[in-house]
């Protein structure tokens, strides 16, 4: 594989995997929390939160990227404070991870929310009458029963993060080894004469990763569903 891919292509693949892995892992706890809040709680501003979560799905990715740059750039209101603490996102691979996480978040929350809504509240009540505090009810009943949706949401988010382009290139640019993920690399290769070969290799990698993610989510989802469903 390393022979087939040139060093520059390989760097894009490795970076994409790293960015997507951390984007997915770091957003998962927030994704579960927000999905649970949307599925089970009623609170003022619920529709606004729901809208905010889904916004990146509807906005042009460039807009999302630009908003991230405004907020998290070193001179932005949040990015400025973080920069004082030594945390910088702009033009770093961590920034690419943030962009990917934001763009993938709606898909993750949607899948998890649906699976939490499918958990029968009567089972959560039964758990409470047996002595489980709300935290234990969540950990021993809600979470395991929603697991198929959580797995599906996570894999979907990972695949989406792998493909993120517009917000990433707007927010953190296209720096080889730092923010040049697979889609940015394909874009860059297509800008130079003779780059089609490298671009095609990355296209194939993209397809393989996407298909693999779908296949994996199918297999894991089915296995978990069988375990939860009995027999």
């Amino acid at each position: 594989m390393t022979d087939w891919l040139g060093p520059e292509e390989w760097r894009a693949v490795a970076l994409s995997l790293r960015v997507s892995f951390w984007a997915t892992l770091a957003s998962l706890p927030f994704g579960i929390f927000i999905a649970y809040a949307l599925a089970r709680w009623s609170f003022p501003g619920k529709q606004i939160l729901n809208g905010l979560v889904h916004l990146p799905l509807i906005l042009p990715p460039v807009v999302t990227g630009y908003l991230l740059l405004l907020l998290l750039g070193t001179r932005g209101p949040i990015g400025g404070i973080l920069a004082d603490w030594g945390i910088v996102f702009a033009f770093r691979w961590t920034g690419a991870a943030v962009a990917a996480a934001v763009m993938a978040f709606p898909l993750m929350v949607r899948a998890i929310r649906l699976s939490i809504e499918a958990v029968d509240p009567k089972l959560e009540q039964a758990s409470a009458t047996l002595g489980a505090s709300p935290g234990w009810v969540f950990l021993t009943v809600t979470l395991p029963m929603a697991l198929p949706g959580i797995v599906a949401g996570t894999i979907l988010a990972f695949a989406k993060a792998m493909g993120e382009f517009g917000a990433t290139i707007t927010f953190v640019s296209n720096i080889p080894g730092q923010t040049r993920t697979i889609p940015s690399a394909i874009y860059a290769f297509l800008q130079v004469p003779g780059g089609e070969g490298s671009a095609m290799k990355l296209v194939i990698v993209s397809i393989v990763v996407a298909m693999g993610a779908l296949f994996l989510s199918e297999v894991i989802g089915r296995r978990v569903a069988a375990r939860v469903g009995g027999a």
């Binding site: 089972l123 039964a126 009458t129 047996l130 489980a132 009810v137 021993t140 009995g230």
Partner: protein, 363 residues
């Protein structure tokens, strides 16, 4: 001893109920919509009533005046739900152990092996609920509640979702629970035969009010209290199996009066409670001769209650206990029946359904 006092209004329904549940099985008995499930959910903490007090001895679960409202998980109750509500992602063994995991370490608890044996679920332990039959799920649900080291067991029509054969299979387990486990049980039912077989105490409910409460035989034999209507009226007698005869009959002794029933499984000497449906009882002013019915109980009329329509419920005291008879008002007039009159109650042997015979006494 459980003390319950509740007031709650919702959607045009008002509940205002006060009752005490001593040890044994206390059945909340009434038609659907009479507030039974609301009361059980309030005791469990799944519903917060407008006002009320619930205390098991000195353990206060709810006292709205004092601002005490324990969350469900702090109440230490074993709730047996109508639909079982087993956790589908856990094995039967894990379901059974679930409650014990959260119980205080020093809580008096039932032994897992003993409960598994009592309920006959040893062969199911490694399965998941999805692979169990309705009756098996019910038994596991009973075990799960029992093993959570509860101070009180709640059961909300646990048999209502089962067919007759499954009911007949599960009822004896509740009888054993009543007789072998010291935890008090609050049991919701609208079935007269379940009440007759299980209840130590009956709390009769109608439209959110307690209309009567007391020992089972007393409440079921009171024609003024027919929570599910005259059609389902029936008194409960306590009888001892005397001997089994070769012709397929069992002879019982009910307060010195012999009763003949179709062959029973219980060994001679065991005590049974038998529900005699009021519509299966015929009354006669004189001791009948040349009649095919085998069971004739002499008694004195205590009370006659005219029902809606052409019927009336006659309550009579016999040596075997209180018996209710449902007859027409025309017959009551023709026979000159009135309180204090001597009559004979006639019960056909084959009319007593097997599902109306349970173990234990009503005392």
């Amino acid at each position: 001893m459980l003390d319950v006092s509740l007031r709650h209004d919702f959607g045009g329904f008002s509940l205002d109920a006060h009752f005490r549940a001593p040890a044994g099985v206390t059945v909340l008995f009434g038609r659907s919509g009479s507030g039974k499930t609301t009361i059980v959910n309030a005791v469990a903490g799944l519903l917060m009533p407008d006002a009320g007090r619930i205390a098991a001895n000195d353990w206060v679960l709810l006292d709205t005046d004092a601002g005490i409202r324990l969350r469900p998980h702090r109440r230490r109750l074993g709730y047996i739900f109508q639909e079982g509500r087993l956790f589908p992602h856990l094995t039967v063994r894990q379901n059974l152990a679930y409650g014990a995991w959260f119980a205080p370490k020093d809580a008096a608890r039932e032994d897992m092996g003993k409960v598994v044996e009592l309920l006959g679920i040893g062969h199911l332990l490694d399965r998941r609920p999805g692979a169990l039959s309705g009756g098996e799920k019910s038994r596991v649900a009973i075990g799960r509640a029992l093993l959570s080291a509860p101070r009180l067991i709640l059961a909300d029509e646990p048999l209502a979702a089962l067919d007759e054969a499954r009911k007949a299979e599960i009822l004896p387990y509740f009888e054993r629970l009543r007789d072998e486990v010291s935890v008090p049980i609050l049991y919701v039912s609208h079935s007269a035969s379940e009440v007759a077989r299980l209840a130590t105490t009956v709390v009769a409910l109608d439209a959110g009010r307690v209309v009567a409460q007391g020992p089972a035989a007393e409440i079921l034999g009171d024609p003024a209290v027919l929570p599910t209507g005259a059609r389902e009226a029936g008194a409960v007698l306590t009888a001892r199996v005397a001997r089994h005869h070769d012709d397929g009959l069992s002879e019982l002794d009910a307060g010195g009066i012999p009763l003949f029933l179709p062959r029973l499984a219980q060994v001679p000497g065991s005590t049974l409670r038998i529900r005699i449906a009021a519509h299966d009882v015929i009354l006669s002013r004189t001791r009948p001769e040349g009649l095919s019915a085998l069971n004739i109980l002499p008694g004195t009329i205590r009370d006659i209650r005219p029902g809606e329509g052409p019927g009336a419920i006659v309550a009579l005291d016999t040596d075997a206990g209180r018996v209710l008879a449902r007859i027409t008002r025309r017959s009551a007039t023709a026979l000159g029946l009135e309180a204090g009159a001597r009559v004979y109650a006639i019960i056909k042997t084959v009319s007593v359904a097997a599902s109306d015979i349970g173990s234990g006494s009503t005392g």
